[in-house]
């Protein structure tokens, strides 16, 4: 093959270009530390990365849901603990006069205390979550579900579900009718109308009706059990949320590992390649410089 000076020059330009292109690709890898900087770097892997990113965003969202729901449930749990405490107090109070007493003052004190405890239970049942929802109100969460005067329930029995992971929901709230009135099903915690029991007890104590007082004591015990049942249900839900959150976090870790396998640059490899490429480039430059200097003109007289 006949070789001309221009051929050598053109080839040198072409190959120096290729060398420099490789070098700049490696430089991009080492500066961004990412294998894929644009979809065309590896279209399939880019698609996988985007899918992973979407799944990560989704499970971030689910974890946010879970943490908000947990807060809501903790508020509910605090309310239930309070209610249970007041019922226990009421029970010991009633126990003290279970066989009746003729002491008018003592009966008055007990009935006053019972009335006050009932009022505190109503206040507890009207607990609001951090963002102002009445936790025991069902979906009518913007009005107080109970009032002290007539024991009626202003909420509804709708249970609010939230999504904790894809296509899997968890009931977030306990409704006041189930907890305090003992009505409703799925779940049912008992059949005791706790506020009504208080009213009956107050009346029985005032009237010194021993039979009614004892009936009231039994009903209070049943009521305490009802609250305990609700607490157990709530705890079970919170445990589920907890494990869901762990599962989501585990999934995230797996996904992040997958993404990082695709995306993270093997620095050692790039470093070695970079220095190889640098050597190749400088060799090419030096060869080009030396060869293109040579000409017959240097030797002609």
């Amino acid at each position: 093959m006949r070789i001309t000076t221009n051929m050598t020059a053109n080839n040198a330009i072409y190959h120096l270009q290729q060398n420099l292109a490789n070098l700049s690709k490696l430089q991009e890898l080492s500066t961004t530390q990412q294998n894929i900087n644009r979809p065309s770097d590896d279209p399939n892997a880019a698609g996988v990365l985007l899918d992973i990113a979407d799944k990560l965003k989704a499970s971030d969202q689910y974890n946010t849901n879970i943490s908000k729901a947990s807060t809501f449930m903790q508020v509910t749990s605090t309310a239930l603990t309070g209610i249970a405490g007041f019922i226990t107090q009421a029970k010991s109070l009633v126990d003290s006069i279970s066989s009746g007493t003729t002491d008018q003052t003592q009966r008055q004190t007990v009935s006053d205390q019972l009335a006050s405890l009932k009022k505190q239970i109503v206040d507890m049942a009207n607990t609001q979550s951090a963002d102002g929802q009445y936790v025991l109100g069902g979906t009518a969460s913007s009005t107080p579900p109970f009032n002290n005067a007539n024991n009626t329930y202003a909420g509804d029995s709708t249970q609010v579900n939230i999504e904790v992971t894809q296509n899997s929901t968890q009931t977030m709230n306990l409704t006041g009718d189930r907890v305090l009135q003992g009505v409703g099903s799925n779940p049912s915690y008992g059949t005791t109308d706790i506020l009504g029991t208080f009213d009956n007890l107050i009346a029985a104590v005032s009237a010194n009706n021993v039979t009614s007082i004892q009936q009231g004591t039994t009903a209070l015990e049943a009521g305490a059990q009802q609250i305990t049942n609700a607490q157990i249900d709530l705890t079970a839900r919170m445990t589920r949320l907890d494990s869901m959150s762990k599962m989501n976090t585990n999934n995230q870790t797996t996904l992040q590992n997958m993404a990082s396998d695709i995306q993270t640059v093997d620095l050692a490899k790039v470093g070695v390649q970079l220095s190889q490429q640098q050597t190749a480039y400088s060799a090419a430059l030096s060869a080009t410089a030396k060869i293109s200097q040579m000409s017959l003109l240097d030797y002609l007289p």
Binding site: M1, R2, I3, T4, T5, N6, M7, N10, N11, Y14, Q34, I36, N37, R38, P39, S40, D41, D42, P43, N44, A46, G47, L49, L50, D51, A53, D54, K57, A58, Q61, Y62, T64, N65, K68, A69, F72, D131, Q133, G137, G138, T139, A140, S141, S142, T143, T158, V160, N161, I162, E163, Q166, N167, T169, M172, S295, L296, L297, L300
Partner: protein, 467 residues
């Protein structure tokens, strides 16, 4: 044989080597001229004469100037240039679009869609919350903005392709005219038995330039001219025929946003025929304008309309904070990514329908918000993918198109580099060779002049005998 004929032989040498040196000079001067083919003088012995009873040559003569030229290689280069022209044009434009879809390093439409449905998840935890409701509206606006931005980039690129047709066809027409003119000059020069090598080189170079812009075929005629033809599905047209040139024109009136390319064949009186070039830069520009970019646009439009339709349907099947049936969140007139917008009738955060249909005012029911958030994973409308999945596939597709066009371009470049190396090997000027020739011819010229001096000396000797 006389002393005179010795002088004549010397003279023939002088003039032959003068011509040869001249050609060497021309070669050296054109060492960097694109498309130049090296030339050489063809030396032959001058006719013999038999004056003294035996025949002897009468010196040397230059019978022609030969151009080192490979017709087949030229054909291959023309084909390679056409492919390179198409691929590099489409690669350039696709690389400009790619950043719009670069969801890998920046947050774009995909992220906006995720956030929009995420905001419904947040709303499901506090269905009466004003902040959560506001977030739904804000993220919806973000989705709209992202759709608009992508759509604008795509339609701007389409418009840019359309307007680039004007300079492109102008440049093609100018090249066609130059080829036709050169054809005329070559024909005239050759009729007067002149040497049209340089003109031919120029013409071949122009044909190569032309082939980069539009797919052509060409034939060389015996009179030295070259006919250039253009072929597409509608037929074959002469672009250059002898010294007559055809011309491409654009119909800008029928559809000002999408010019039709028309062609008036060489020597034809018109009217121009509408053609559909598929090769070279012209073909690539048309393919980008009519097929490739509108293809992306169609997918983005489908995504926009489907999201709007599904979200609106879910909105209207729920109840808003006042207990009324929800109204469309996105403009019901949405028909593309460019026209998607928040429904102008949505003026208050109360109009977000989080509760189930029939719920009272201020209801804390979240079932509609949950159903809305669940649309993120809905695979019923986008051919088996979710909205994000569909968009991710589009991103991959754009990436794949860019990648394969880049690969094609580098392959094309390697191929045409190889071809020009081959051409250079055959037709290129080698300075070493020319310098060697220069020395050779110079020495030969000196020797020829020595013959003349020797003959003069001999003549002097003869004349000295007389005196």
């Amino acid at each position: 044989m006389s002393l005179n004929s010795i002088m004549q032989i010397g003279k023939s040498g002088l003039s032959a080597y003068r011509v040869a040196t001249e050609i060497t000079g021309e070669n050296i001067a054109n060492v960097n001229t694109p498309g130049y083919s090296r030339q050489r003088a063809i030396l032959e012995t001058a006719p013999q004469s038999a004056i003294n009873g035996f025949s002897l040559g009468t010196g040397v003569s230059v019978t022609g100037v030969q151009r080192f030229y490979d017709g087949l290689l030229q054909q291959q280069m023309v084909t390679a240039q056409t492919t390179l022209g198409y691929d590099s044009t489409s690669s350039n434009v696709l690389q400009q679009i790619e950043p719009t879809f670069n969801e890998v390093t920046t947050n774009g439409l995909g992220d906006a869609i995720s956030k929009f449905f995420g905001s419904w998840q947040d709303l499901s935890l506090n269905p009466t919350g004003t902040a959560e409701r506001q977030a739904v509206l804000t993220t919806a606006q973000n989705v709209v903005d992202n759709f608009h931005s992508i759509s604008k980039t795509l339609s701007d690129t389409v418009a840019a392709q359309n307007s680039s047709l004007t300079p492109l066809t102008d440049s093609i027409n100018a090249t066609l005219n130059s080829i036709a003119q050169l054809n005329g000059q070559i024909k005239t020069t050759q009729m007067t038995s002149g040497n049209a090598n340089e003109l031919k080189d120029q013409r071949d170079q122009l044909i190569q330039d032309l082939s980069k812009q539009v797919g052509i075929t060409y034939t060389e005629n015996s009179d030295g001219t070259t006919d250039v033809n253009y072929t597409d599905a509608s037929g074959t047209y002469a672009l250059v025929s002898g010294s007559k040139a055809g011309a491409f024109s654009l119909d800008k009136i029928t559809n000002p946003n999408s010019y039709a390319v028309q062609l008036t064949a060489a020597g034809s009186a018109g009217p121009a025929t509408t053609v559909a070039p598929t090769q070279g830069a012209l073909g690539a520009t048309l393919a980008l304008r009519d097929t490739i970019i509108p293809g992306y646009q169609k997918q983005v439009d489908l995504l926009a309309t489907t999201i709007a339709t599904k979200v609106n349907a879910q909105q209207t099947s729920g109840a808003d904070l006042t207990g009324a049936t929800g109204i469309a969140l996105f403009d019901p007139a949405t028909s593309s990514a460019a026209t998607i917008a928040i429904n102008p009738a949505v003026t208050s955060t109360n109009q977000i329908a989080a509760a189930a249909s029939g719920s009272p005012a201020m209801s804390g029911d979240n079932s509609n918000a949950l159903a809305m958030a669940g649309l993120l994973n809905d695979t019923s409308t986008m051919g088996g993918s979710t909205f994000n999945g569909y968009y991710n596939t589009l991103v991959s597709k754009v990436g794949l198109d860019v990648q394969s066009s880049q690969n094609t371009v580098s392959r094309d470049e390697a191929f045409s580099n190889q071809l020009s190396t081959l051409r250079e090997s055959n037709s290129g000027v080698s300075l070493d060779e020319e310098l060697t020739n220069l020395v050779t011819y110079q020495r030969s010229y000196q020797a020829s002049s020595k013959i003349i001096t020797t003959a003069t000396d001999m003549m002097d000797t003869v004349l000295g005998l007389i005196s």
